[in-house]
Symmetry: C3
Subunit: 246 residues, 3 copies
């Protein structure tokens, strides 16, 4: 274990023997980080709150948490968590393997993430959201959960199904269901459900046809579903399953 | 007073006896924090600049300033200030009681806030803005203050009147007046004044009728003004006044 | 040299004798900061990665890097770099003199910047972007670089030519060329090339005429090109050149 001498690691933190902890980072009691994890400098991990209901922060193996990130108690992440810088993750998230959180990502909690979800910079995910597997969220994507704000709830974020692409600067309204393999164009404001495989664009977002109508340049064929042409960074067995299903 | 041994508190800071200051936080000379305040780790409070004109940072009682926040000298906040993480607040803000600043909030200064303003994550407020009381600003709301950028000014941000709701990802152009109890839908770009009580939506935002036309689900009646149905976290005397006025 | 005792400066960092380094800041090996530089607290400078290919972080004279900023190895900046707080700058940027990066700016790298580019808060610049000289990017401007996301590339961000104004909350799609002196209105989503000197607005952005049709208030004449009426903070010789060309 390589904990920088300026880091403050509580005695009740459970860090695997090979964990690296950077300077000026604070790790609270109860945090569990499995083997292979790297935590950069200036982070705060496992901040305890009543909302965490005593549950710890659990980080699976081979995580990389970049500097200035804040992860509260009460969430659990599978293997291979990657964060950018300056992220904020509140309580009650449950994520599968391979979650990527871009810099400035703000995940408010009580959200389930499938496997290998990749969100880029400055993505906002409110409470009570559901994100499937292999979903992409591009920079500035903002999900919302209160249709008549401010309200007591029940709040309900969007349900983004497997393989969806949420474009840069897109906004998705509360409770909207975005079907599997759908593509939301950059800058869209999505106010109604999106059917599986569809492309939507605009404010408000309207259907432009099947995403498969988008063509790769130079006669390369349909660009979607993207799983037939893009596989970088996914485990081979995952890609094999995709290709078998297509 | 519980100041973490790694925090750096200047001798001229005026902290009430029960203040808590987290690790790696810097408190500059002249900062005044009243009783009940909690300042989390990795913050910078009271950064002095010429723009502050010698005025200190003044934080009223019962504040909670979350980690990685930067508050300059030259602003004053009433009781119950709450900030998220990673906020940046420049000089010359004057705020009443109960201001909430969501994570990544970027308040550029020279702005007046009424009582109990609640801004959520990633809200941008430029200089020379006026925010009334009981206003809500949802994630990613961006106010602007320069109609012909770049210009020498005079810059003039929007004037957002009491009880307004500025939806997620909305943008409000310089000098726009948003009347009391108006509702700006998510993703709107507001280019002209909005009458009191109106709902606007779209790019550019157009009037959709009175916000009161929006109905609560299940026959619950009009959703706006929201003060007739939502009161969480406001002092009882404030809510009593609202209800008396309706 | 005034390095705060809590700062961690690697022995291989090359700091000019008068550099100021704030508390809790980390400066990695190989970083070069020329005379007159100020680095505030809680920063990370020169984080080495494979993508930096061994190139250091080079910061020209008279820089001011504000707190909580992260600048990786492998970029170089001319004189007078100014950053806000909480910025993130990845590898492979090359910038001329006078670059300003607003708070929360997220520059992903492999981007060239001309002289005196000014980006305000929360601007996102993806890899493979080209920014000319004297460009302005207003709060929340988001550039993108992948037209059919996710793809293996080649990724290509926009090319923003000299003197352009990218308005608040605007989104610019991949590969779009924005001609010199063009103005993109706030909240636009720019999906196609913009001719030099044009004004575009809306989602998708459409041509509204020459930007010169926008008039200053009170009969002040055309507002654009802005170089004829705004010069704050630019070196006199630069302004002289602008004026000679008009």
């Amino acid at each position: 274990m390589s904990v920088h001498p300026t880091a403050i690691v509580a005695p009740g933190a459970q860090l695997a023997p090979d964990i690296v902890v950077g300077a000026f980072t604070i790790v609270h009691d109860g945090v569990r980080i499995d083997a292979g994890g790297v935590v950069e400098s200036h982070c705060v991990l496992g901040l305890p709150t009543p909302a965490a209901q005593g549950a710890p922060l659990v980080v699976g193996p081979d995580a990389h948490i970049r500097s200035h990130s804040v992860l509260y108690a009460g969430s659990s992440f599978g293997a291979g968590l990657r964060t950018g810088h300056h992220v904020t993750v509140r309580e009650g998230n449950v994520a599968g393997d391979g979650l990527q959180i871009g810099s400035y990502g703000d995940f408010q909690g009580d959200t389930t993430f499938g496997e290998h979800v990749r969100s880029q910079s400055n993505v906002f995910i409110p409470k009570q959201t559901t994100i499937g597997s292999y979903v992409w969220l591009f920079p500035g994507a903002t999900l919302t959960n209160d249709r008549l704000p401010p309200s007591e709830g029940p709040h309900r974020g969007p349900a983004i199904e497997d393989f969806c692409v949420v474009g840069a600067s897109a906004t998705v309204l509360p409770g909207v269901r975005v079907g599997a393999h759908a593509v939301i164009a950059a800058g869209s404001v999505v106010v109604a459900d999106v059917a599986a495989g569809d492309l939507v664009a605009g404010v408000p977002a309207r259907r432009r046809g099947p995403a498969a109508d988008l063509r790769l340049p130079d006669g390369g064929g349909p660009a979607y579903p993207w799983t037939q042409r893009f596989a970088r960074g996914y485990p081979p067995e995952v890609v094999g399953r995709w290709r078998a299903e297509l």
